[in-house]
């Protein structure tokens, strides 16, 4: 079983003809439905539906409050290493970018853990650059053993692994997996991943499913918005989340919406994903998948994040550093520039002022 079969089924849809035929009446019909099908989801991503953002937002807000309540889960990313063996056109960690690479020692991992813990955060996403050589599974596992003493929930965002490797990490205390497909469009995926093991589209596409099979409690996926037409990429990612949710009901599935950010390098985006587009994607996701979590990182500006809050968001990062060792000591090359630089305390205050409860802990290590 693989989502690849689903992808092959829909990849050649004539999206532009479909969108050209969508009418206002079609959008209104979808908005009146309780349960949406694949075609309905595509209608919500159409240009015509962009005239219905307010109606979609009202419904999305209601569904989010009903399913998740007036709460927002907070997390922080922790970069263990920035060694990478891939050449990706859009990423600051690309092997072709000359900067001093860094990797935390186990002692430094603990220093970072303490610095993050002081902010009150209990939910961690552990990241490395994609290098099995510099960040082997054993290194990640050793780091996790330390981190489980400080955090109640730990996810990994690293290179795709085999099921057995994911199982090893689950046993070590990892309960979540984040892995972005970057580009669902297979041809564009091949173009932007110039050299390195990341060129293997299928191995990456099936990684979330392997994570589910390995017993990850939660799996977070998403496209890197900007590599291809966002309407298509958002559609494929939504179908991927739906596929995982239907086939692995015991895993909590969530979606992220990273947009390309300034980084080391000169890659130009293939598709501009403006704020209007981002809003339409969030709303379409919420209406199509009412129980799926939607995560928003500090890549987005403070003002935009504040306004996106009631539209379907369930999880936010706060006071993130994308540099290796960036919490205990503020130095190092960042994977990308963050936009919302507010502290955890400031985000907490904002949430409370907006009528949302910030949730720092949402899992108990067993």
């Amino acid at each position: 079983m693989s989502f690849y079969e689903e992808y092959k089924r829909v990849k050649n849809i004539d999206f532009y003809s479909f969108f050209a035929q969508v009418t206002k009446y079609d959008v209104e019909k979808v908005l009146a439905k309780d349960r949406l099908r694949e075609e309905d989801f595509l209608v919500l991503l159409s240009p015509v539906a962009s005239d219905y953002l307010e109606e979609m937002a009202q419904k999305a807000h209601k569904l989010t409050v009903q399913n998740f309540g007036k709460v927002i889960f907070l997390y922080v990313p922790l970069y263990l290493a920035n060694y990478c063996v891939n050449q990706c056109a859009y990423c600051g960690f690309s092997v072709k970018n000359g900067f001093k690479r860094n990797k935390l020692t186990i002692n430094q991992v603990e220093e970072e853990a303490k610095a993050i813990m002081d902010k009150g955060i209990k939910d961690l996403v552990v990241l490395t650059g994609e290098s099995r050589k510099h960040s082997p599974v054993s290194y990640i596992k050793d780091s996790i053993k330390i981190l489980t003493e400080y955090f109640s929930s730990i996810a990994i965002e690293v290179y795709p692994m085999k099921t057995e490797e994911y199982k090893e990490l689950v046993e070590a205390g990892v309960d979540g997996l984040t892995i972005y497909q970057e580009a669902y469009n297979e041809e564009i995926y091949d173009e932007v991943h110039i050299t390195g093991p990341k060129k293997n589209y299928r191995f990456r596409l099936d990684a979330p499913e392997r994570g589910c099979q390995a017993g990850m409690r939660r799996v977070n996926i998403g496209p890197l918005l900007g590599l291809d037409d966002w309407r298509k990429e958002a559609f494929f990612a939504g179908l991927h989340a739906n596929y995982l949710q239907n086939n692995y009901m015991d895993t909590e599935i969530s979606l992220s919406l990273p947009r390309l950010r300034p980084h080391l390098g000169s890659f130009q985006s293939n598709s501009i994903v403006d704020d209007l587009a981002l809003v339409q994607i969030i709303l379409a996701y919420r209406l199509f998948l009412p129980r799926v979590g939607i995560s928003l990182s500090t890549r987005e500006s403070d003002k935009l994040r504040d306004n996106l809050l009631p539209l379907g968001i369930t999880k936010m990062s706060a006071e993130s550093s994308t540099a290796v060792g960036g919490y205990a000591k503020d130095k190092g090359v960042k994977q990308f520039d963050i936009s919302d630089e507010r502290t955890v305390a400031e985000i907490k205050e904002l949430l409370l002022n907006r009528g949302y409860q910030p949730v720092f802990k949402d899992w108990q290590q067993l």
Binding site: G69, K70, S152, M249, K361, W363, Q364
Partner: protein, 257 residues
Amino acid sequence: MEDKLIIGGVELESRLFTGTGKFPSKEVIRETLEASNSQVVTMALRRVDFDNPEENVINYIPDNFTLLPNTSGARTAEEVVRIARIAKAAGCGNWIKIEAISDNKYLMPDNQETIKATEILAKEGFVVLPYVSPDLMVAKRLEEVGAAAVMPLGAPIGSNRGLKTKELIRILIDEINLPIIVDAGIGKPSHAAEAMEMGADAVLVNTAIATASDPVKMAQAFDYAVQAGRIAYLAGLGAVKDYASASSPLTGFLKGE
């Protein structure tokens, strides 16, 4: 005669159980619980932060409440048991609401895993309140293995759809010798009253209160509705007739009318 509900040796006057999830702030939780007149409150152990007093939801629960930690997040009996033991060791008492859910799309309880966990925890001395899909045989089995009550769902969690499983819950009320506490799906005070009128022993309400525009007022409304429903049940509802008492009876000729 006083009308009391006794669970695990605790006498309860209020038949409204409340929850702590989905609220906009912890301060609102405290105010709402006080307004609800409730005596039992459930909270997800997964969200309880014992290391951080400010974030620990337990510190916002008034002292006179009986804590009912739940095993939200558990997918199997084994996980349920581990969470229950953590809760007890952390000083949350020996009441436990079992939630064994391995379906993240609809959040439907896994009855088989729930029975397994109930048996283990009841033997360990827990007061076990299992959350289940309403099924007579499952409820009977729960009774056999030592559950302190049975908590059937009225509709999927958070759906606010009301008593969609009414006929099945009615069978549990008639056949099971344990308190039946309707949990999940109750979206309006009238739904709660309906459950109480049909003879449920209590109801647990969370989403409908927590996500109301004014949770404090909604908690009061549920308190009244549960009381009204209970009084109506005790008073004995009038029989519902399928036909009117005709002023021109069709069979009057038999009596010479």
